[in-house]
């Protein structure tokens, strides 16, 4: 048998060769794209993803580390053809995502573990997504640079710390939480943030553009003390840095992180399975442990001893947690960010 190579047959062969991998991929592989945290805090999601991939041969779970604000911008630009299937959101972006239709309602029948969630936390989801974990905003400080450890939020204004304090920009959940707590402890509220603005301005702080930037400033010893997430402080301490975390009086601010299905996800069943796994006792225990210290949201998961400096474990500690009426803050986020620049960027 002779084989005649013509230009046409060569082109056809080359075309088939080039197209084959993508055709096979489309047939065999399914991909779930999930927004996740950056750095070490992504490890619990990685652990869960590998377990789920093992259950579904051919499934690939891609975790995209990003700030939720960048993701919302990408989803918004995609105009209903989101490149993501599920995303975690803190309470403020969770409310905005509901309002703007970027996340879809939970079908609780398809996520049986939702029945194990602490009811007060489930209620905060407003029927969208599941409460995956909670984190605390407290105060982190460098014990090498400060003689006295802070005990309360008001200590940020202690003259001893002057020039060593940083705060986050108000664009992040951390920054919004700090603004609200500053307003509250100096006579304001979610409806009256003016005392908070005035006191933050009086602090003459350095400003971290993001929670990560703030942590890096603390690590580089540009500052000695800052409001920060418990998980970030724990990660820095685990690296051997002299950074300690305080749950300041009258209490740290607790913010729930919800895992939600992005509207029009191509894999609704897999997203439901992912959310169900997020609420499994195994995952919750894994994420609650060192060095992540994500607060558990399902009943029956105990806070490990190692987490006690970072996560409330006694009823008294839980009672001290400060919550924010995000319904009053989240819709004004744009104006708050603009006000921040008027106060600090000029």
């Amino acid at each position: 048998m002779s084989l005649r190579l013509t230009r046409r047959s060569i082109l056809a062969g080359a075309g088939a060769t080039l197209a084959a991998p993508s055709i096979l991929n489309a047939q065999a592989a399914r991909e779930l794209v999930i927004v996740s945290f950056a750095g070490q805090l992504q490890e619990p999601h990685q652990w869960l993803a590998r377990r789920m991939e093992a259950r579904h041969p051919g499934l690939r779970i891609r975790l995209v580390p990003s700030e939720s604000q960048d993701i919302v911008a990408a989803i918004k630009a995609a105009q209903g053809f989101s490149p993501f299937d599920a995303m975690p959101n803190g309470e403020p972006p969770h409310l905005i995502a509901q309002r703007d239709g970027y996340i879809q309602k939970l079908d609780a029948a398809k996520v049986p573990n939702a029945a194990n969630v602490v009811p007060e936390l489930m209620a905060k989801s407003a029927g969208f997504g599941v409460p995956a974990s909670y984190s605390l905003i407290g105060i982190a400080y460098n014990e090498k640079l400060l003689k006295t450890a802070p005990k309360s939020w008001a200590d940020l204004w202690n003259p001893e710390y002057r020039g060593k304090v940083a705060i986050p920009r108000a664009s992040s959940n951390l920054g919004l939480g700090v603004l609200v707590i500053a307003a509250r402890i100096f006579g304001g509220s979610e409806d009256n943030l003016d005392p908070g603005w005035a006191k933050l301005q009086e602090l003459k702080p350095q400003v971290g553009r993001s929670p990560t930037a703030l942590l890096q400033m603390l690590e580089r010893e540009e500052i000695a003390i800052a409001p920060i997430w418990n998980n970030d402080a724990a990660g820095a301490a685990a690296k051997g840095l002299p950074i300690r975390f305080v749950q300041p009086d009258p209490g740290p601010v607790a913010i729930i992180s919800f895992m939600s299905a992005v509207t029009n996800t191509r894999q609704p069943d897999l997203v439901n399975e992912w959310m169900n796994d997020i609420l499994s006792a195994e995952y919750q225990q894994f994420a609650a442990n060192a060095p992540y210290f994500f607060g558990p949201t399902v009943r029956g998961v105990t806070v490990p001893d190692a987490a006690k400096a970072y996560t409330p474990s006694s009823p008294q500690e839980v009672a001290k947690l400060q919550t924010v009426d995000w319904g009053k803050i989240a819709p004004n986020r744009g104006k708050i960010v603009e006000q921040f620049d008027r106060v600090f960027a000029l």
């Binding site: 703007d100 553009r209 010893e221 744009g334 000029l346």
Partner: protein
């Protein structure tokens, strides 16, 4: 063979440029026009509401003191950084033109090598150098006993200017390098023969010959400095903002695309005006500098 195909293959007329022009139209001109158009409509939750063209958003931005002050900061930081880049670049380009062999190659590698890494990486390097008590610069000064307390270098205008100057230096050096190394040396010999000293020859012959390159470099470095948002974001800190940073903040963080587009329009338009003025100034001075052999 079809006449058009023949013309394309023989490189005649406009046709060989067609793929590049089509690419630029689809991936640069149209997105830019779309972006600019967003500033003249109202966008809510990712969708255009109403169908009326409005100047209200532009009017509101132009009446905002915050925007003017941030635009002023963008301008003076870009001007200082551009002038510093010229001061630092000229000796390097001149040295390149006076050397040969391995030294010339080494200078060229030193100039080009920063371009092989991303601007983000280079900006992070400045964070390590300038950052806090543990920063390289403060550590060195403290160990040498030159300072008692670490200097606050990051999160200042100067951190942004230093970072921008270094990062944009190759854009200033390269045009100067091309012109200075290709200049006609006979003019300098003639000046020396007529009794001019080295310094006078340099300022009256060499510098005027390099005026077109100086202004090309000024235009390039000014444009990239004025519109840069990575360096102010990382080296300026969270309370530092410029017009370019505001475009990013409004578009990606606040998700107010209309405001982001209006600010982008102001940034682009003012940048075009400044670059035009630099180029026009260059043309005027180049006429003065034209030395015919």
């Amino acid at each position: 063979m079809h006449p058009v195909v023949r013309r394309v293959l023989h490189g005649g007329g406009f046709w060989p440029a067609l793929p590049a022009v089509a690419f630029l139209v689809v991936f640069l001109v149209l997105p830019m026009l779309t972006l600019l158009a967003f500033g003249f409509v109202t966008i809510e939750r990712g969708r255009i509401v109403g169908d009326t063209f409005t100047l209200q958003h532009l009017h509101s931005a132009l009446g905002d003191q915050l925007i003017w002050r941030l635009a002023w900061r963008s301008f003076y930081v870009a001007v200082i950084s551009t002038v510093l880049a010229l001061v630092l670049a000229y000796p390097v380009a001149y040295l390149f033109s006076q050397t040969s062999g391995i030294w010339r190659t080494l200078i060229l590698i030193a100039v080009i090598s920063p371009l092989l890494t991303s601007a983000l990486v280079r900006t992070y390097a400045w964070l390590v150098i300038l950052g806090g008590r543990r920063g390289l610069l403060n550590q060195t000064l403290l160990q040498l006993g030159l300072i008692d307390q670490p200097l606050r270098l990051l999160n200042t205008d100067w951190a942004v200017i230093i970072g921008m100057t270094q990062i944009h230096l190759p854009f200033m050096i390269l045009p100067l390098l091309a012109v200075l190394s290709g200049r006609d040396r006979r003019l300098e010999e003639a000046a020396r023969n007529l009794g001019a000293g080295r310094v006078r020859t340099f300022f009256t012959v060499v510098v005027p010959m390099s005026v077109p390159a100086i202004f090309a470099g000024l235009a390039l470095v000014f444009a990239v400095s004025y519109t840069n948002f990575i360096v102010p974001q990382l080296l300026g800190g969270g309370s530092y903002s410029t017009l370019a940073v505001q475009v990013y903040e409004q578009t990606v963080v606040v998700l107010d695309w209309t405001r982001g587009a209006v600010l982008a329009t102001i940034l682009l338009t003012s940048c075009f005006v400044f670059v035009y003025l630099i180029v026009a100034g260059g043309s005027r001075l180049s006429r003065w500098s034209e030395i015919r052999t």
